[in-house]
Symmetry: C2
Subunit: 160 residues, 2 copies
DNA sequence: TTTCGTGCAAAGGTTTTGCACCGCA
DNA sequence: TGCGGTGCAAAACCTTTGCACGAAA
């Protein structure tokens, strides 16, 4: 499915829920689609959108992202760095987001494997809890990073 | 291990790292120990500490929590509600934190079972990633909550 | 006209920082 | 004296909100 088709599909989701696909919203979506592999902050999105649509306001970007999150078109995430980050929900991975968060790199890597379906089943059975979404983050260090450096790039402190 | 012993142990951790156990830090620790089962925000901690030590400043609480998080004595968490929350790391559950986050309740329930050791092993093997910590949250609804109400307590909106 | 969406600026809330001061080695 | 730690206030920061305006049904 190419970008035009995806936007078309999302447009229908908006319409069904009584919202319009304004130029601002369309460009915001394009930016999200073009950066599917990143975890963009609202500020990131704002700056990318402004390259294509300089008149846009930051508040509009926030409102658009909030709207898309509410409609479950994007997922709002939090890595503890003080800003919310947004990911387009991908086909076939409706609500699976696993990340490797390396103390030495600043980036995060996604794991796409659905390793958690069995766990969800277990939670449902043992806790009477219907899971609609989950999030799994592993914090740690890549072996390759560890070999490269003994100093954390973020804090400048030595890491064990 | 009672609270005195735990504080004693943490005192040693502080000393080893060149920090002192000031009265402010000790009372902050006591509050955290007395509320192990909650996920207190910095503001929560501040208000509880102030009951025992009215002169304390909010900045000191923030600095103490940051220090404790850095030494891995508390875990800093984020549930997406705009505030960081802090948990004492418990004996025998050094770095395991799983939560059930219900859309209808505001609280979160901890799962203590270590369901993820095998997954960590897998990540280590397949990604060359040494896991030092992980976080797993399940978002969803308790069956009992669903029966009680069709309206979300947080947003006031109907939930499916 | 009515409604929805927007840009701008202001406000809100959380967290961090600057600075003077204090206690202790 | 030197240094770590503190309280207070100000600043910084991200995000939300109020408001007037504009476009579309």
């Amino acid at each position: 499915m190419d970008i035009v088709e995806q936007i078309d599909k999302i447009n229908r989701q908006l319409t069904v829920n009584g919202y319009k696909l304004t130029p601002q919203r369309e460009i915001t979506l394009k930016v999200l689609l073009e950066n599917e592999r990143d975890h963009l902050s609202a500020e990131d999105v704002f700056m990318l959108v402004r390259q294509k649509f300089p008149e846009i306001g930051l508040a509009t970007v926030y409102r658009t992202l909030e709207l898309l999150a509410e409609l479950n078109i994007v997922q709002k995430m939090n890595f503890g760095d003080g800003v919310a980050r947004f990911d387009l929900r991908q086909e076939g991975h409706d609500h699976m987001h696993h990340h490797l968060v390396c103390r030495l790199r600043l980036e995060k890597e996604k794991i796409q494997d659905d390793w958690l379906l069995e766990l969800e089943q277990r939670v449902a059975n043992e806790y009477g809890f219907k899971v609609t979404d989950h999030r799994l983050d592993f914090m740690g260090v890549y072996q390759t990073c560890k070999n490269d450096s003994k100093t954390c790039k973020r804090t400048g402190k030595a890491v064990s």
